[in-house]
């Protein structure tokens, strides 16, 4: 039960974060290059994603559970650690915070620099929407398929992913502007912790280790990783000098 709740919350939060980024890009493309092209790019990307998921999902569920846990645990761990690393650097001020307003302004400037809007389907607006939705969607699919496959509950992971995307798209349609009020940086920190914790749990099990607390180990690992991450943020914040803050711009 606790695993199902954790699975749902992790997939929902991760997918919501990615959906916010995709919605920002599509909004910028729609407003500057026309909604027809933005929608066409979005729908084509969703179709490509559906094909990828249809191919990837069954392939993963056909693997023996030990191999699946080792491979997926390892991948999730590498992926989650990269996510957590960025989140720690952002929280400590060493990397610029993810700012949807700034990203939106940047996308709009880029799209406006792309010349006059063409009648019919504008190739520039189409490509930007397509790439944005496909790349962010691949992350959503990767998380949903790996989590769902490992827990033998792809259905629940898919529901969490669809619910997250639906909530974010609805909020985007209603707001008609970038969703800068979503606490994206905090969500990313939490998702990084969860991906890393599940990666450790499944990776170790896949390699043949047995956790002393059994299934109850995964929330304990998450708490451990959270405390370590907060400790690292605290150390980095204390270490920071005005000179380091200037250097942070270059890293971001």
């Amino acid at each position: 039960m606790s695993h199902d709740v954790l699975l749902f919350l992790t997939v929902f939060a991760a997918c919501a974060v990615e959906a916010v980024e995709a919605v920002t890009i599509v909004l910028a493309a729609g407003i500057t290059r026309g909604w027809r092209s933005a929608w066409a790019g979005t729908i084509t990307a969703l179709a490509v994603l559906a094909i990828i998921i249809a191919l990837l999902g069954p392939a993963l569920s056909n693997l023996p559970i030990g191999v699946l846990r080792l491979v997926v645990g390892g991948l999730l761990l590498i992926f989650g650690l990269q996510w957590l690393r960025k989140a720690i650097l952002r929280a400590s001020g060493l990397k610029a915070q993810h700012d949807e307003d700034a990203i939106y302004a940047e996308e709009v400037a880029l799209l406006r620099a792309g010349g006059e809007e063409r009648p019919g389907i504008d190739p520039f607006g189409f490509t930007v929407s397509f790439k944005g939705v496909l790349l962010e969607g691949l992350e959503v699919a990767f998380i949903a398929v790996t989590f769902g496959g490992n827990q033998h509950n792809v259905g629940l992971a898919a529901i969490a992913a669809i619910a997250a995307v639906a909530v974010v798209v609805l909020a985007g349609v209603l707001a008609h502007k970038p969703l800068s009020r979503v606490p994206e940086n905090t969500l990313k920190f939490g998702v990084g912790v969860m991906l890393t914790a599940f990666g450790i749990f499944w990776g170790a099990e896949g390699a043949g280790a047995e956790w002393p607390a059994g299934d109850a180990a995964s929330p304990l690992i998450a708490v451990f990783i959270l405390l370590v991450s907060l400790g690292l943020v605290s150390v980095l914040r204390r270490r920071q000098t005005p000179a380091a803050s200037v250097g942070a711009e270059a890293i971001a």
Binding site: Q82, R85, L94, E139, F142, A204, A209
Partner: protein, 65 residues
């Protein structure tokens, strides 16, 4: 060929990201866990220790720069 290379670059950036040492340590730690499990040792300790070590090394190194 150009598209294949671009896809490879995307995959690398998607999974490996900014610090490739993290991926190397994770793979080595999984191998070490398997060896420890085979030898009947407390293999579950390996991964959390290695993960915390590489994460701390990676972020503190950025802090130093």
């Amino acid at each position: 060929m150009r598209r294949l290379r671009a896809f490879g670059a995307f995959l690398y950036d998607f999974v490996i990201g900014d610090d490739p040492r993290i991926a190397v340590v994770v793979v080595l730690a999984l191998g070490l866990t398997a060896v420890a499990a085979e030898a009947g040792r407390a293999a579950w300790v390996v991964l959390p220790v290695c993960v915390v070590g590489v994460l701390a090394f990676s972020v503190l190194r950025v802090g130093k720069d």
